[in-house]
Amino acid sequence: MEQIHVTIKLFAHFRNGRFKEANHPFAPGVDCRQIILGLGLGLGEVGIVMVNGQHASLDQRLKEQDTLALFPLVGGG
């Protein structure tokens, strides 16, 4: 089965020991939860999940050339 490619962007301390931005291949049908766990992140650590600039659920499946952005729970104002 052909793989899909997803751009993953990490922010704040998620970058420590990982990366800012990377394009990774995944099996078709991969969802946000699987990618998060695959990065060694706990689901409770993740505050904001965005796919293509819109908030997404952990169950959302990724498509070819999607961008997944992961933020810890942070804020400002």
């Binding site: 962007k9 922010f11 800012k20 904001i48 933020f71 810890p72 729970l73 804020g75 400002g76 104002g77």
Partner: protein, 576 residues
């Protein structure tokens, strides 16, 4: 016994008054807005003798409670023409509270051209003629007063922009490091300048201090409250590490980072100005990523930012300033923005209003997009010296737009819209429209729920739920602004069930009161309605509760979002 200090500049007299019973249970914004609504004729000229400038510490200021050191300032705003409250950290609120000063009311206007200063101590307040420190920047005034009166002196001061009575002038308050924090928005520094008060010094030697009605109950509630602040990931970890500037990348990703004077929702230079880059830069240059704006702050979202030689450049370097000169003016050099921040602090000018004014000025062709060096030059040589161009820019985004015929002018009630695009983060657009303060993100910070997933989730791109979200947050914020608490306690308060009851318990233990959650909500509603009634009496109408036309006609990339609320939908905000 708590007291009201009243300064009458018409005849240069001062009085110490008893606190009227109807003001006794009020603090902070509740008190400044109540006093302004009662004593200031709404149609008066904001820079005339009938306006009054009121300072009040919060209900919990001066206690051992975490994050309770905010001071409110209120008056009719020369920028919006409506009522204004702006609150600030620094050392003054706690000194006022220890001196048992419930509020300071400055009224009237001196005859002649002379300038004055006020001195506050345990005896009350006195008026002195002032000549030596006129024209100086805020940092020089604070240094001079510390030499003269000692390191511990409290200082409330206006810079040259306040002396010129420009509508972006702020009022600055000395912080625990001898630097400043500011009552930023709405031109309150111009009101202080119109009364020809250059500074207020505070000496709390021999102050009677705070009396807590039930110290044991207070201590217990305070412990629960502080734990909630430390346990929440935003107030306990996120803000201390990255400061508010962590928002650059979040808003960029969400398409809500206003770019090139609100033309786009994303900025290609975001990585150069973001909180992550700023954190690494601060650490590499030996600055401080954590710094509190007042004693007792456990969140410490501020920082000390050094230049490339490791020398102090600025502190209190906030997301809104960095966004405003960064994405909004296309400046990619964080050092230039930090330099501008420091000059704005010294001149005493609101960094949000001024950054947005520069965006409009760039749109008008007055200076090139992205030219940070020219921004710093204009700040120093035009605004700082009061040239005609400087006075136009120093009068705010609306003034620049009117003077140069620009139509893309992001203001509500003539106050500049801050760092969140209301087309792609719709809840904050409702706050901008309806807040009696004019466009002000802090008045009802829907970003928490629209973007940060704090206090639930409301889709930022849809209209559903935004009115109710903004209304609930504005009511809660009005109440929190009355306690002396930093607004960032709202993050744990929205998510941790013990937090808000502990805050109410502290107020009850402090005053021997028995307020309930409903009482606090009703306080928030009463404040908002009092402020709105002032605005309507001042001549503002529902037509002032609107976003500029371009937000409806010009879609913002990447979501191609437009502002699509009807007037009737917006006006329903006030159905409470």
């Amino acid at each position: 016994m708590d007291k009201i200090l009243r300064v009458n500049l018409n005849d240069l007299t001062t009085r110490v008054e008893e606190v009227p019973s109807e003001w006794a249970g009020l603090g902070g914004r509740a008190l400044t807005s109540t006093i302004v609504a009662k004593e200031v004729p709404p149609t008066c000229h904001a820079l005339g003798p009938n306006n009054k400038l009121v300072f009040a510490p919060g209900l919990l200021s001066g206690t051992a409670s975490s994050n309770s050191g905010r001071l409110s300032a209120g008056a009719k705003s020369p920028l919006t023409g409506g009522i204004k409250e702006s609150n600030v950290g620094g050392t003054a609120a706690q000194m006022f509270a220890r001196l048992r000063i419930h509020a300071l009311i400055i009224e009237g206007m001196p005859k002649g051209d002379g300038w004055y200063s006020l001195r506050i101590n345990k005896e009350g307040v006195s008026i002195q003629e002032e000549t030596g420190l006129l024209g100086l920047g805020n940092f020089a005034v604070i240094d001079a007063l510390q030499s003269l009166l000692g390191k511990k002196t409290g200082v409330i001061v206006i810079g040259p922009v306040g002396e010129m009575r420009l509508s972006s002038a702020n009022i600055s308050v000395k912080d625990p490091s001898g630097k400043i924090r500011s009552h930023g928005r709405g031109g309150l520094g111009a009101v202080m300048g119109s009364k020809r008060i250059k500074f207020i010094s505070i000496d709390d030697e021999g102050a009677p201090g705070i009396q807590i009605a039930d110290p044991e109950k207070f201590k217990a509630a305070s412990r629960v409250f502080t734990k909630a602040l430390m346990d929440h990931p935003v107030s306990g970890q996120g803000l201390p590490t990255y400061g508010t500037n962590v928002l650059v990348n979040i808003l960029h990703e969400a398409g809500g980072l206003p770019t090139r004077n609100f033309t786009y929702g994303q900025f290609d230079g975001h990585e150069q100005i973001c909180g992550e880059t700023m954190h690494d830069t601060i650490v590499a240059r030996g600055g401080k990523p954590r710094h509190g704006c007042h004693a007792g702050c456990v969140i410490q979202c501020s920082q000390v930012y050094n230049d490339k030689d490791g020398q102090y450049l600025t502190s209190g370097f906030e997301y809104e300033t960095i966004w405003g000169l960064g994405a909004n003016c296309l400046i990619k050099e964080l050092d230039d923005i930090a330099q501008a921040d420091s000059v704005m602090d010294d001149l005493g000018i609101d960094s949000i209003e001024t950054a947005v004014a520069f965006g409009v000025a760039m749109e008008a062709g007055l200076l090139p997009w992205g030219d940070g060096k020219e921004v710093v030059r204009i700040l120093r040589d035009e605004i700082g010296k009061g040239t005609a161009l400087g006075r136009v820019i120093g009068s705010g985004a609306g003034a620049v737009g009117r003077t140069y015929g620009v139509t893309r002018v992001p203001v509500v009630k003539n106050q500049a819209i801050p760092a969140y695009d209301p087309r792609s983060v719709k809840g904050i657009g409702i706050t901008y429209c309806t807040s009696p303060m004019g466009a002000d993100h802090t008045a009802g910070y829907t970003i928490a729920t629209n973007i940060l997933n704090v206090g639930g989730q409301v889709d930022p791109l849809k209209k559903d739920g935004q009115i109710e979200l903004s209304r609930n947050l504005q009511i809660a914020t009005a109440a929190i602004d009355s306690t002396g608490m930093c607004i960032f306690i709202a993050f744990p308060a929205l998510d941790i069930p013990e937090c808000l009851p502990a805050l109410i318990d502290m107020i009850n233990a402090r005053f021997g009161a028995s307020l309930t959650g409903d009482d606090v909500v009703n306080l928030g509603k009463t404040i908002l309605k009092t402020e709105r009634a002032f605005n309507l009496a001042a001549g503002l109408t529902a037509a002032d509760d609107r976003l500029p036309e371009f937000f409806k006609s010009d879609p913002v990339a990447p979501h191609q979002a437009v502002w699509d609320f009807t007037n009737e939908e917006i006006d329903a905000f006030w159905d409470f």
